[in-house]
Symmetry: C2
Subunit: 188 residues, 2 copies
C-alpha cells in the first residue's frame, strides 16, 4: 500500500469528493474511499471523525477569517456593520474556490445527512461570530441575534450565488441580502 506516502488527508479528501460526486454519497463506502486513496478504512477514521466530516475540512478557516474581519472592524462599527465585514471575508473565500465550493454544495444538497452536518457547522460558525461580537463590546443578546442574522444572510446569498448563471460576485449578493433583511425588519 502507499504507506508513508505524504498527504494522506488530502488524498482521502480528493478520493471522497470524487466518489461522492460520481456515484453519490449514500452509494459510496468508506472502504472504497480509502482504497482509492491507497489506504485503509481504519486510517480514514484516524483523519476524519466520520464519513461526513471529510467534506467540511476547511470550515474552521472560514470561521477564522470571519472572526478576524470582526476583530479588525473600526471601533465605531455597529453590530450589523461588523456582520457586513465578516460577510466580505466569506466572499473572498468563496470566490477563490468557486468550483470546489460548487461541487461540494451539489453533493451536500443531495444528502439529508450532509445537510444536517452543514447546519451544525453553520451553527458553530454563528457561535464563533457571537463570541467575536461580544469581544467587540456588543451585549450578549444582540451578539447572538446579529450573528444569526449574519449566517442567515450568508446562507441565503450562498444559495443564490452557487447557481447564478451571471456569476454575480458573492459580496454583492450578500450586501443586497443584508440590506433587504434590514428593510424587512424595519417595515415590520
Amino acid at each position: 500500500m502507499g504507506r508513508w506516502r505524504p498527504d494522506a488527508r488530502v488524498r482521502l479528501m480528493e478520493a471522497a469528493l470524487a466518489l461522492y460526486g460520481e456515484r453519490g454519497y449514500d452509494e459510496t463506502t468508506v472502504a472504497e474511499i480509502a482504497e482509492r486513496a491507497g489506504l485503509t478504512k481504519r486510517t480514514f477514521f484516524r483523519y476524519f471523525a466520520d464519513k461526513r466530516e471529510v467534506l467540511f475540512w476547511g470550515s474552521e478557516l472560514l470561521e477564522q477569517q470571519m472572526v478576524a474581519a470582526i476583530e479588525a472592524a473600526p471601533a465605531s462599527a455597529s453590530a450589523l456593520s461588523m456582520i457586513g465585514a465578516a460577510l466580505d471575508a466569506a466572499a473572498a473565500r468563496f470566490e477563490e474556490a468557486r468550483e470546489f465550493v460548487g461541487l461540494r454544495q451539489r453533493i451536500v444538497a443531495s444528502s439529508h445527512e450532509l445537510q444536517e452536518r452543514e447546519l451544525i457547522k453553520t451553527s458553530k460558525l454563528a457561535a464563533a461570530v457571537t463570541a467575536a461580537l461580544r469581544a467587540r463590546g456588543i451585549d450578549d443578546d444582540a451578539a447572538v441575534l446579529a450573528a444569526r442574522m449574519g449566517t442567515t444572510v450568508m446562507h441565503f446569498a450562498f444559495e443564490r450565488w452557487v447557481d447564478d448563471p451571471d456569476r454575480t460576485p458573492f459580496q454583492r449578493i450578500a450586501r443586497d441580502a443584508l440590506a433587504r433583511l434590514k428593510e424587512i425588519a424595519s417595515a415590520g
Copy 2:
C-alpha cells in the same frame, strides 16, 4: 411479547425518552428501547426512521399551527407581524407541554447527533413558514428572510425560556426578542 397491545408508537417514545434521560442517548441501544416497550428492534424501525427521530415526533404539529397562524393573519399584516403571530402559536404549544419540552431539550442538548437533527427540523419549519408567507403575498426573498428571522427568534427565545427560573411566558420572551432583533437591524 406484547404482541398486538395498542400504542406501540407511544410505548416506544416513552421508553426512549426514559432511557435517554436516565443513562444518556449514546449509551442507550435501540434494542434496549424496544425491549423496555415490549417490542423488537425491528419494530422500532418500523415506527421511527432512526434512533433520533423518536424524539421529534410532533414537530409537524408545531409547524402546522404556526402556518395556520400565518394564514389567519389580517390582510394588512406585514411579513414580520405574521412571524409574530406564528411565534404566538408556538408559545401556546410550548406552554402546554412545558415539562416534556424541557426534558426533551436537555436530552437534545447533550448529544451532537440530536442537535443536528434539531437543526434540520428547524430548517424544515422555516421552509414551511416561507411557503405560508409566500401564499400571503410576500415576495420570495422577503419570505425566506423573514421566515429565517422567525426561527432565529424562536430558537433564541426558547433557550431563554426553558431554563428561566422566573418562568416568564414564552410569548413575552419571544416578543421582546423580536423587538430586539428589529432594533439591531435598524441600528445597523
